[in-house]
């Protein structure tokens, strides 16, 4: 029925007169970090941001970027490298799962 009506109107007015027209639309995109835990459990700042200490000292590397990297353990838990290197000096275990800490990878 609707198709027939539309066709009739097109014939009459020479342009499609639709019941609804789209005047405006907003696109929404979602994203998340590709890590299991996005907050450093030691300093409670997002791992992709500089750690609390680096923020306090506003440490920058020679390119003027924050030089605070993320470290992943074999247990897949991630922390700021700065935070973790302080902790392993006392206890070489992951603070979250208590497994022996060994580095799987580092970077951003």
């Amino acid at each position: 029925m609707a198709d027939e009506n539309d066709n009739e109107r097109i014939d009459e007015n020479q342009r499609p007169d639709k019941m609804f027209t789209l005047k405006k639309w907003n696109a929404v995109a979602m994203w998340s970090w590709d890590v299991e835990c996005d907050t450093c459990a030691i300093c409670r700042v997002q791992v992709m941001d500089a750690c609390l200490r680096c923020q306090a000292e506003s440490k920058k590397d020679s390119y003027g970027k924050q030089d605070c990297v993320v470290v992943w353990g074999e247990c897949n838990h991630s922390f700021h490298y700065c935070c973790m290197s302080l902790w392993v000096k006392q206890n070489n275990r992951c603070p979250l799962c208590q497994q022996e800490w060994s580095i799987q990878r580092m970077g951003k």
Partner: protein, 178 residues
């Protein structure tokens, strides 16, 4: 002659060598102190020694049931500059009869152990709120007296609950009245 500017300069020079963690502690404390006060057990209250210093405070535990009911027990808590790599220092300022607290005020709580042998000690993921609930639990859970600080109290608890109860009450009446 020593001038203030020279002194300040020298102070800055010496500071740059050592890593000062105090600002980290203070930033953590702003959040943790708030969280702690929001989630405080009903029988506990917190008193700051100086309103501008969140690192030193007294936790008062007033159990409403159990052996220590009616007592008011104060714990002096000092969050040192190395926090949260090390646990806060906790000392019980009220004399009491308890298997896990010595009469000198040393507290045996696995969470407060700096060097953990069994994975039960301090971890930087812990917060002040965990410390408060841990201390609060010393007056509720009578489960683990395996490694007591006050051996006499632990033995008494094991072999004669009645004697233990009366000694606890005696101490509460003598030292822990509000």
């Amino acid at each position: 002659m020593i001038t203030l500017s020279q002194r300040l300069k020298r102070k800055n020079d010496s500071d740059s060598g050592i890593v000062n963690r105090a600002p980290i502690r203070d930033r953590l404390l702003v959040k943790e102190a708030q969280e702690m006060s929001q989630l405080l057990p009903a029988s506990c209250s917190v008193q700051y020694h100086n309103e501008n210093d969140l690192s030193k405070f007294t936790l008062v535990v007033q159990p409403t049931e159990g052996y220590w009911e009616g007592g008011s027990f104060k714990f002096d808590i000092n969050v040192t500059e190395e926090y949260n790599m090390v646990p806060p220092l906790v000392k019980c300022a009220t004399k009491l009869w308890h298997p896990n607290i010595s009469e000198n005020g040393e507290v045996c709580l696995s969470l407060l152990r700096r060097h953990s042998v069994d994975g039960m000690g301090w971890s930087p993921i812990r917060r002040l709120n965990d410390v408060v609930w841990g201390l609060h639990a010393l007056f509720t859970d009578l489960l683990n007296f395996e490694d007591p600080l006050n051996v006499e109290a632990a033995d008494q608890f094991r072999y004669s609950k009645e004697d233990f109860k009366s000694k606890v009450t005696e101490y509460v009446l003598s030292y822990a009245r509000e």
